[in-house]
């Protein structure tokens, strides 16, 4: 069971999916929301295929995944696990991502960032689902508990 406390950030937090190559070079790609399969303890990240290339290649080669995601309030988590597969995103997942992008755009707008700029971040809808099995969960909210592992399963 993916812990309840992480679900909000998972859905509404900006995410970065990372991986490492066989010769220890790393890469990551931006994620525009994610969905959870509680039965199988998997997470599917909504990525952009034209950007995710290198990151995906690494995952396919080594299988290891790191997923960092956080809210504007700085509540943040990192999931680690094993790459499973890529797939198409469902309708509801796409709708979820759309909502997510809208919310982010608003926040950035209120920070004084121009709409054209915001579009670079959240202007393109994701077209790729990257699924991985969650093995470890870490608290990444800044503070003394940052880095602590959250028990699950």
């Amino acid at each position: 069971m993916i812990p309840e406390q992480t679900l909000e950030a998972l859905a509404n937090g900006f995410g970065h999916l990372g991986s490492a190559s066989a010769d220890l070079k790393t890469a990551h790609t931006d994620i525009l929301s994610a969905s959870v399969d509680q039965e199988n303890d998997t997470v599917t990240c909504f990525a952009l295929s034209f950007l995710a290339g290198p990151t995906l290649d690494n995952m396919k080669a080594t299988g290891r995944v790191s997923y960092f995601f956080g809210l504007m309030s700085h509540e943040a988590y990192q999931f680690k696990g094993q790459f499973i597969e890529t797939r198409e995103l469902t309708e509801s997942e796409l709708a979820q991502s759309e909502q997510f992008c809208k919310a982010i755009a608003e926040i950035l707008g209120s920070m004084g960032i121009a709409p054209e700029a915001t579009m670079k971040l959240v202007g393109t809808a994701p077209d790729l689902g990257i699924t991985f099995k969650v093995e470890n969960i870490f608290n990444q909210t800044p503070g003394p508990e940052a880095g602590q592992e959250l028990p699950f399963n």
């Binding site: 504007m72 309030s73 700085h74 920070m111 004084g112 960032i113 503070g143 003394p144 508990e145």
Partner: protein, 511 residues
């Protein structure tokens, strides 16, 4: 044509870029000149600051800015002038080391901060976590002057050589970008402002000092004018005070202090003194029977009369202990051991005489019970001087000599003067005495021989003195003072004379 050739030889974009940079540089120089000339025309601190801030807005679009001056003593900066803020926040203070402005003051380095909102939120989260999970004690959060929702800030130290004069701070609500080019220019301007401000500050301090000096001059002139008058007033005060104090001292002591002969410190010396002790008998009974007012009057009268006698004979009145009197001769002034002793005994004799007059005086006023006195006198080495603590001195005499005088007094008969052998040996040529008993005195190893004073040798018979004679066949006791009916007495004496045989004529040898 030369221009076309040049343009084609160089890439257009490069050319544009260069032109832009040249324009910018020219503008910068203009700005520097303008700022410099404007802020150096005045020595008014606030004016300089305000001018600076206005120009910064004009040239760079710095909508929100402030200038703070360093107060070295406080280790804090205070807001001198602001621009664009609703609340002018003048005088608000920032501690050195606190926040962006404080850090810039501390490190004397320019600092650019952006995304302040996020960073503060980040810190807030941490702060919450820290307080929630640990016992770490955190300082209070500080509210600094400036925009509440500030997003970016540049703070520049205003340096004059190696000294920090103040900090120039610019804030922006948006995620604005101050580029490196701006940084350099603003730095130059900031230092110019530092010079101008420092000059103004020094000028201000000089003005202040001048004002203080003038004020001091005025006060001095004032003081001089009133000085004479003040001296007079003060002298009068002091005289009044000393007159009051005089009442507490024996005149000789008082005079000695004021003449400077007697120093008011704890100082004693051993000297040969003649010590006099007197005590009223019957006074205690009176205290029970008389009204307090009458008692006080009586005692005052008695002590005043006796004091007057003592002073006239040159004695130092040590103290009154109720109705008892302690007087000594030989300090602070001495006429010589012998003379002092004689004076003391003479004084005692006169005191007895005076007491007689007082008795009838009081009898008339309803004090039926006569007051009698016992007197003791001894000459010997005593310790005399200022005793006590640094704050409270008592000029007195102590020693075995004093004890002896006191013992003599308690051993004397009523209305009698009992003296020690030491005194007797000194006064016997001037005072007729009768040997008394030898008494033992604590502190003296052998019994002390005493003598009763009869009368002074050179005493002229005073009219109001008693006449007491006893010869075989005749006992005469005449007290003219207490005699009420002098005519009756005259008649008695006449009658007595008539009974005497006529004067025997002695046979004369005829030759």
């Amino acid at each position: 044509m030369p221009n076309d050739a040049f343009a084609s030889a160089v890439d257009q974009t490069q050319f544009d870029g260069l032109t832009k940079r040249l324009e910018r540089k020219t503008k910068e120089v203009e700005i520097i000149q303008q700022v410099s000339s404007q802020i150096n025309t005045t020595l008014d601190l606030e004016k300089i600051a305000k001018t600076m801030l206005n120009l910064m807005d004009e040239f760079f679009g710095f909508q929100y800015a402030m200038i703070l001056l360093l107060d070295e003593e406080d280790e804090a900066l205070s807001v001198l002038a602001t621009h664009g803020y609703e609340d002018d926040g003048l005088g608000a203070k920032v501690k050195v080391g606190m926040g962006v402005i404080g850090m810039v003051a501390k490190r004397r380095k320019l600092m650019r901060m952006a995304n302040l909102g996020q960073q503060r939120a980040y810190m807030q989260t941490i702060r919450q976590q820290v307080t929630k999970t640990t016992d770490t004690e955190l300082e209070d959060e500080v509210s600094l002057p400036g925009l509440a929702d500030v997003e970016s800030q540049v703070a520049i130290p205003m340096m004059l050589e190696d000294e920090l004069v103040g900090v120039f701070s610019v804030e922006s609500l948006g995620v604005n970008i101050f580029d490196k080019g701006d940084e350099l220019l603003i730095g130059i301007l900031a230092n110019q402002a530092a010079i101008a401000l420092q000059h103004a500050r020094l000028f201000q301090r000089e003005q202040q000092r001048l004002e203080e000096l003038n004020e001091a001059h005025r006060e001095l002139a004032d003081l001089n004018a009133n000085l004479e008058q003040k001296v007079e007033e003060r002298t009068a005060e002091l005289l009044e005070l000393s007159a009051k104090l005089a009442k507490y001292f024996s005149p000789q002591v008082y005079d000695s202090i004021f003449s400077g002969k007697l120093d008011v410190t704890i100082q004693t010396q051993r000297k040969s003194l003649t010590v006099f002790f007197s005590d009223l008998q019957g006074f205690t009974e009176l205290t029970e029977r008389l009204e307090p007012e009458v008692l006080t009057e009586l005692l005052t009268h008695y002590l005043t009369e006796m004091s007057e006698v003592a002073i006239r004979w040159g004695g130092t009145i040590d103290k009154f202990i109720g109705d008892a009197i302690l007087v000594f001769f030989g300090d602070p002034v001495s006429k010589g051991n012998r003379e002092d002793a004689v004076a003391c005994v003479s004084m005692a004799v006169e005191m007895l005489e005076r007491l007689e007059s007082l008795r009838s005086f009081w009898r008339e006023r309803g004090v039926a019970r006569p007051l009698n006195v016992r007197i003791g006198i001894h000459t010997g080495v005593c310790t005399v001087g200022n005793f006590g603590s640094e704050d409270r001195l008592d000029y007195t005499v102590i020693g075995n000599g004093v004890n002896l005088a006191s013992r003599l007094e308690s051993n004397s008969d009523l209305n009698q003067i009992l003296i020690s052998e030491d005194t007797y040996l000194l006064v016997k040529q001037h005072v007729r005495c009768e040997q008394g008993e030898a008494i033992s005195v604590k502190g003296v190893s052998h019994p002390v021989q005493t003598y009763k004073v009869i009368e002074l040798v050179n005493a002229s018979p005073r009219k109001d003195t008693k006449l007491e004679e006893d010869i075989p066949g005749l006992s005469l006791a005449l007290d003219p003072f207490s005699l009420e009916d002098h005519d009756a007495a005259r008649q008695l004496l006449s009658a007595a004379l008539k009974r005497l045989k006529p004067k025997e004529k002695k046979s004369r040898d005829k030759k």
